[in-house]
């Protein structure tokens, strides 16, 4: 009963990935072209749902689609050599470390901003002042 196939709406509810997004992922090849029923509707199984949850969490962590593709390839290709898997894991690891470092710096600045704000008038507000002072860093507009 719950074991076999979910239509796309159920898959969306189960994974937190919206219906059009699931179709989009199929279109760009992040999700496989799943089987269809007699009426041409997509049917997902438990493995597909796990893949969707994986993708959602990876996106929430700020990985782009290409990075997720390589992460998924670790699973998709069990024949893959150790060296390949190791290389992918290590390069993703490096990316994650950079991201953590950047976010940690960002957190420090936000904390400093918020903590020193005395909740007084705007013209004494530390949040506004910090922003107006500009960054030391003329680098990338980084989010993550």
């Amino acid at each position: 009963m719950r074991d076999r196939s979910f239509p796309i709406g159920a898959a969306a509810r189960a994974t937190g990935v919206k219906v059009p997004t699931i179709r989009y992922y199929e279109g760009i090849g992040l999700m496989p072209t799943v089987s269809r029923n007699a009426g041409n509707r997509r049917l997902y199984d438990a493995a597909d749902l796990r893949r969707l949850v994986f993708i959602r969490h990876a996106r929430e962590l700020g990985f782009d689609v290409e990075a997720i593709r390589t992460l998924l390839s670790l699973q998709d290709d069990p024949e893959k050599t150790c060296a390949d898997a190791h290389a992918i894991a290590r390069s993703r690891l490096a990316e994650v470390e950079v991201r953590i470092a950047r976010l940690t710096a960002l957190r420090a600045e936000l904390e400093n901003m918020a903590a020193q704000c005395a909740r007084g008038r705007i013209d004494e507000c530390r949040v506004i002042e910090t922003l107006a002072d500009g960054g030391h860093d003329h680098g990338r507009l980084a989010d993550a």
Copy 2:
């Protein structure tokens, strides 16, 4: 001398915001429509540059344009309390903290995976699991 007028390229160099991005900010109303010289070129003054730096810094901290619009309008009204600015900063801080926590968990898994791979155990990769049930709630995935 320096606080008279900068053409857009000088403004870009001075603030670290790219030329097309400055024009884009004007288009969406984050920057005012500045005055032009005889040859129709934009001329920026010191206050404009400060505003650009403010925007750049806020973008680097991950605030979206709407938040920046609010912060800028707060800045323009120094009599108000800074409760709103404080709230915007704190909510961004909360997002950043969630992200750091998840990335830290992912880093541990990738490290673990890289180590296992190095010992030849590809088929027990836990990266999928980490991301698949790692973060937070959303729909429970019927296990399998």
